[in-house]
Symmetry: C2
Subunit: 418 residues, 2 copies
């Protein structure tokens, strides 16, 4: 009787979802693999031909023109996907996938400072929406499928499947976790990442010393308070980033009437920034450097290196790039800004540099995306479990100090921040 | 302007909570340390004097008499705390703390099969309620404080602070996470665990081989499906456990009119079980053995050992003990049952025994408590991050197969299970 009551129903549900999630994850995982490969090609090509930077204004012009000519709804990007999750409507157009793919690669080929997660989320969302239409799902299930698409895209592009799933459950509404989508999102993220890695994609990891031995953990209370202090700064910088992005975009729209011209101007400003600052370190994705010992994300985990203002420079390069209509994600630049700021704070207040770079890495992202749990899990998937207490303290502190103005304007508020 | 808008308010809030949470965590952490020390004393004393087992019926009689004479509201136990979280009413009486402390130690001294988490949660809840009354908090804040008390108790007693916090946020309502209590719960759990360890308490950890290398993780898809298969069993056993506990308790109440007599009978049945099965391995907490090579929780992580029916025996011993009114927790026996069942399944279907014992350990607990996220985090805090993908797959699968009848009868349903 116990078994009759629920087992067949659950099993059928499980198989139905597996039948849809398998192809979904396979397609999204493969697209993410191709995307990661293209990004690496674009970045290395830019290193080979530094003059490509001068094409940035034209590249921006073309991107924005493409979107205004062919984009239609797809121009909504991440926000369109969140809106469709909140209130399923016309669906996410399939054209979003090729458009965001190509335009993100263009950004990186010519040296715009941007990331990957926005692209992965949009690839995932548009493919999920397409599969949902083909499978004839109802609106409730399409909602779950969109969340699964985000999970698969995010999980595959960063190689962090559990983070991808929790991120997708957490991101639509601030202060709410969508338990309803738990199984499809987790399945999609695990399989999406699996497929992406089957294509030979591997992911960078940063090593961190252990400040707590598993099972014999003893909290260092001074270090704990230093983490909280630093994380207040992480939360504030996340908020400043989101607000600068939104305000800068609005300002450009008010001053320059045409989107392609805005992007053209943005490209010119980035070129100017390169010559003002005298460095190309803040162009592109920021995870690999042109020279073997050049500045990149991993540099901030090295206590021997001091880069006090890197966080500010990356902040400016990224806000200019993304607020003038270049495509790409916000998360990888946020990792960079967070790790740079964490390393700077650690040098100033006397704390382990790699630990603080790592906490900055996850906490600034989590605070800007309003996804505190996802960023704790990301810490674990990126750096291991040993420092989970410091990760949790950092991510939650940054979360409450970042306010409600995240990088996803279509997020709604479910629970007020504490 | 940005800073003025929110920083002072948040900072004051932070300090207010720290001022309350610090003493709360210090008291709960200290009580948990004393409790863990007493448990170890009780277990070792029982090993030294095996004849203590024959006192179990009398011990049960006294426990139940104590509760019926002095317990009043405190007899509600975990459920009273959850009800006070749902709808703050008369508060949790402070007498709950000494009553549950003493009666749990009695259970373990005389060989009842029980755990620790229920006791820790009740210590945390009653102390939190007491501090809330002293501090003159309003009902909304008392709610948060109760959640924080659970977090501190759970985190300290198992040495898993982040799990304690997430557990406390997840346990009141199925399918909902109480983001509002994020900061106080996390702070209480971290500090509670810190204080408990300052008293010299350490926690057992079980080692597990890595089936995925960090950063170079490649999912083994066959293993993945074996994990899911096993986790269906974990979910079903969790459900059977919760329902057996509730049904058995009801049955005893119907057949025997007096609570002390029920416990007396329960003690007699446990003694009979020892002689029927010819083993004392399933008495008590189950994490340490009387002989150096005796059966205990850690045995199931050893691929050389085969204990095919251990899960069933521990199941029966525990249901008899807890359903006849002995006090103690359900979670440590669930760890034992899960690890034992995981090891058995791994032997049968050909899978890594330590991995499956570990997944059983966390998944049966998570499924019976309806706290899937907390049990993923517990896997990470107990066994490290390397196998997080398998932990997540196992915990979520078991969660959806355990139904709504968990070990906490006063849990309410927030989101239907997928």
């Amino acid at each position: 009787q116990l078994f009759l009551k629920y087992k067949p129903y659950r099993l059928i549900l499980l198989f139905k979802w597996l039948a849809i999630i398998f192809p979904l994850a396979a397609i999204i995982g493969s697209c993410c693999a191709l995307f990661l490969w293209s990004l690496e090609w674009a970045t290395k090509t830019r290193f080979l031909y530094p003059a490509l930077l001068f094409g940035l204004p034209i590249a921006g012009f073309i991107t924005s023109w493409l979107y205004s000519r062919y984009g239609k709804l797809a121009a909504g990007g991440n926000n369109l996907i969140l809106e469709e999750i909140h209130k399923p409507n016309a669906g996410v157009p399939l054209r979003m996938a090729p458009l965001i793919f190509i335009s993100t690669v263009i950004t990186h080929l010519f040296g715009g400072s941007a990331g990957r997660e926005g692209t992965a989320v949009q690839l995932g969302g548009s493919i999920a929406s397409g599969i949902g239409r083909i499978a004839g799902l109802d609106k409730k299930d399409i909602r779950l499928l969109l969340i699964s698409g985000i999970a698969a895209g995010f999980g595959a592009v960063f190689g962090t499947p559990v983070t991808g799933a929790i991120f997708a459950l957490e991101v639509p509404v601030i202060g709410r976790l969508e338990y309803r989508a738990l199984i499809p999102a987790l399945t999609a993220a695990i399989l999406g990442d699996w497929v992406c890695r089957l294509w030979g994609m591997d992911h960078l990891r940063y090593s961190m010393a252990s400040f707590s031995q598993m099972g014999h953990f003893q909290l260092n209370i001074i270090l704990f308070f230093k983490v909280i202090l630093a994380s207040i700064a992480f939360g504030v910088i996340a908020r400043l980033f989101s607000e600068s992005l939104a305000n800068s975009a609005q300002w450009f729209k008010k001053v320059i009437p045409s989107a392609p011209l805005i992007s053209f101007t943005g490209g010119l400003i980035v070129i100017a920034l390169v010559y003002i600052t005298g460095t190309r370190d803040y162009l592109g994705i920021g995870t690999i450097a042109a020279q073997p010992n050049g500045l990149q994300l991993g540099s901030f985990f090295d206590a021997q290196q001091h880069h006090y203002w890197s966080w500010l420079l990356k902040f400016i390069f990224t806000v200019v790039t993304l607020s003038t209509g270049f495509k790409g994600g916000e998360v990888t630049p946020l990792f960079f800004i967070g790790a740079a700021l964490g390393s700077t704070i650690a040098h100033i207040i006397g704390a382990p540099v790699d630990l603080f770079a790592g906490i900055g890495f996850i906490a600034v992202f989590g605070a800007a995306a309003n996804t505190p749990l996802a960023c704790i899990i990301m810490g674990v998937e990126m750096f291991g479990a040993d420092n989970i207490v410091y990760f949790a303290a950092g991510c939650c502190t940054a979360y409450i100090f970042s306010g409600y103005s995240g990088i996803y304007l279509s997020q709604t508020i479910g629970t007020e921040k504490p």
